[in-house]
């Protein structure tokens, strides 16, 4: 742990996560689960915890080999005994049974996968999370009530899907209640479309998980709820090979429809910023069992679209990337 003057800039972001998002109080037990790649983020969060008189404990593990793998048993056990758990890790443990059990035990969990020092300094974290919460919940309610969704973009996206019977979710970033969950700086309302119902064309023009910002659009032909064909340049080829290497037909499932609602988040190739960017739409391939869907796949890959128009049961809620509710 060598000194880094960058931490002077990072403390404000850490303080916001600790105070505003997690609502850490004096004397609370805060567990910071981290790995060798994210130590500076962990240390900055611990410093912010000390400031409010809480007790931070760091657990530093080897980076997991891939996103979604469980932490060691000792770490998982510790996670069930803390008031608050922060997860600044290079490989996400957000979608693990360890995180699920920690929340069930009452911990407020704030996941920070692939978090960078710069994300603590500027960007989406500067948003007024409390102010966005009503809009986020309103959008969630629209999604919950809608039977059908249609997404179009100027570059040629035109896809319809059924949302019937599926609950929307509001990820507003605040995790102040026991069992709460936050993935800052993302603020989004999202839903798992009915499997097999999506049909049309997606043209991702902004970014894709594990690939980053796109230099040219990636076109995906969707039939019967599955991505059937992927066209475009080098990034389309990368997406193809990522999906193929998963060796799981369920990764082609149209698993999520989400709307970014963080006015400070920028499209920068980092997923938690990109998904949250106000007015962006993401459609994900793969898993959705976490939030009301039926698919548990080996991957969850977000495709980010800009300037999208989203129509729910004939009512426009997003017009060319502007929220109109």
């Amino acid at each position: 742990m060598e000194s880094s003057f960058k931490e002077i800039q990072m403390i404000k972001g850490s303080s916001k996560i600790v105070n505003v998002l997690a609502g850490v109080k004096k004397d609370e037990q805060v567990l910071i689960v981290t790995d060798y790649q994210s130590i500076s983020i962990a240390r900055s969060l611990a410093t912010a915890c000390m400031e409010v008189g809480a007790e931070p404990t760091l657990m530093i593990m080897r980076p997991r080999e891939a996103h979604g793998l469980e932490p060691p048993e000792a770490v998982a056990a510790a996670m069930t005994k803390a008031d608050v758990v922060f997860e600044p890790v290079s490989k996400s443990i957000a979608h693990t049974s360890s995180t699920k059990k920690a929340r069930e035990a009452g911990a407020r969990v704030i996941v920070l996968p692939e978090y960078t020092e710069d994300m603590l300094i500027s960007g989406g974290l500067e948003a007024d999370f409390e102010a966005q919460k009503p809009l986020c919940e309103k959008m969630r309610d629209y999604l919950t009530q809608a039977k059908r969704a249609r997404v179009t973009t100027p570059l040629g996206t035109d896809i319809g899907m059924s949302l019937e019977g599926r609950p929307g979710r509001a990820l507003h970033g605040l995790a102040r209640e026991p069992g709460g969950y936050s993935c800052p700086p993302n603020i989004e309302a999202s839903i798992a479309p009915v499997e097999g119902s999506a049909s049309g064309v997606i043209v991702a023009d902004a970014s894709i998980s594990s690939i980053g910002l796109l230099s040219s659009p990636v076109m995906i032909l969707v039939k019967e709820g599955l991505a059937k064909e992927i066209k475009g340049g080098g990034e389309a080829q990368r997406l193809k090979s990522i999906l193929e290497s998963a060796n799981d037909p369920r990764v082609y499932n149209i698993g999520e429809l989400g709307i970014g609602l963080n006015p400070k988040a920028r499209l920068c190739g980092l997923m938690l910023e990109d998904e949250g960017a106000l007015g962006s739409v993401h459609i994900a391939l793969g898993s959705n069992a976490d939030f009301g869907g039926k698919t548990k796949a080996a991957r969850h890959i977000d495709l980010i679209l800009s300037k999208a128009t989203l129509v729910l049961d004939g009512k426009t809620v997003l017009q060319d990337g502007k929220v109109v509710i």
Partner: protein, 324 residues
């Protein structure tokens, strides 16, 4: 960059390979605090070399020796194959350590460890060779009923211990055991309320920044508890600390131990001092991890030179020389 780490790796390997006997695939929880992270990192390197999984836990230093770690840490300790504890304030005599060991962990206690302790001194001992000697002293302790301790500086202390076990700490652990490193010692916890006489520490009190003693610290003992402390400024430091604890159990005569590490030196660092071959220490305060019933806010050791120990009238240590 701390280049000293290059030298520290040998001691770290001794701890991981010889003392904890870490095997490939095992999970090794390294419990440290913000003061000793550098030592934890070197231990993690040695664990990584063994193809085991190191997890470093960094906590805020406990306010006093014997204070429990956070609940999350206690829970993690129960789930690890091996626990290494480079911490600045001791968690040895805590429920967390007791429960972790009962759950089958192998624990190596490294309280107040220093970078130098990983480089030279007691860590250079042949632990396997000292093991039978240590076990024999512990066996003698186990069998004894009545113990008398004297030293040239004026110690004269008697105590009863029938029914109490003898503990052998030789730095090599099996599942369900813990040991300090690099101290090699045999000890026991006398029956509460039975110690009577005078303890005169003239070697070291390796706590509270006291270290090697400039002048002796004299403690009067009645019915198992220290009732009076005399000496110079070092005695006053000890006396003041106990006073602020406001816990009568802090004065309990908790342990008699004899050092058995030929490579250890008396430097004012607890883990080396207690192991110095032929030195004797009286532990004061908590004794639950040694076989007793008292949980106190602290556990401090008073070390002396040239002691003689009689077990039921038979001398096993004569002026610091072992007589087995």
């Amino acid at each position: 960059m701390n280049m000293k780490r290059i030298e520290m790796i040998r001691g770290a390997k001794t701890i991981v390979d010889t003392c904890a006997r870490v095997k490939p695939g095992e999970s090794v929880l390294i419990v440290t605090d913000t003061n000793l992270v550098g030592i934890a990192e070197v231990l993690a390197q040695a664990v990584q070399e063994r193809d085991a999984e190191p997890i470093i836990v960094v906590m805020i230093p406990r306010k006093g020796h014997g204070e429990e770690p956070p609940p999350a840490v206690a829970e993690a300790m129960k789930k690890a194959n091996v626990i290494l504890t480079p911490v600045s304030t001791s968690i040895t005599h805590t429920r967390s350590t007791k429960e972790a060991v009962e759950a089958g962990s192998r624990a190596i206690i490294m309280t107040a460890f220093t970078e130098d302790l990983l480089i030279r001194g007691g860590i250079q001992a042949d632990f396997k060779k000292q093991k039978p000697i240590c076990l024999e002293v512990a066996r003698r302790f186990k069998e004894a009923k009545f113990v008398k301790l004297t030293n040239p500086a004026g110690t004269s202390l008697t105590m009863r211990k029938e029914g109490r076990r003898g503990n052998a700490l030789y730095c090599i652990v099996e599942p369900g055991e813990f040991s300090t490193v690099p101290t090699i010692e045999a000890n026991f916890s006398p029956i509460e309320g039975t110690a009577e006489g005078v303890i005169v520490a003239d070697a070291s009190i390796p706590y509270l920044g006291i270290g090697v003693l400039e002048e002796p610290v004299r403690c009067k003992v009645e019915k198992g508890f220290i009732v009076d402390i005399e000496g110079g400024h070092q005695a006053r430091t000890l006396k003041e600390d106990w006073k602020t604890r406001k816990d009568p159990n802090c004065y309990n005569v908790a342990e008699l131990g004899v050092g058995l590490n030929p490579a250890a030196r008396m430097t004012g660092v607890m883990l080396d001092d207690e192991g110095v071959f032929g030195s004797v220490h009286i532990g004061v305060g908590t004794n639950i991890t040694l076989g007793g019933n008292i949980k106190a806010a602290t556990h401090y050791d008073l070390l002396m030179w040239g002691a003689t120990i009689e077990l039921d009238g038979k001398v096993i240590l004569e002026r610091g020389n072992l007589k087995l």
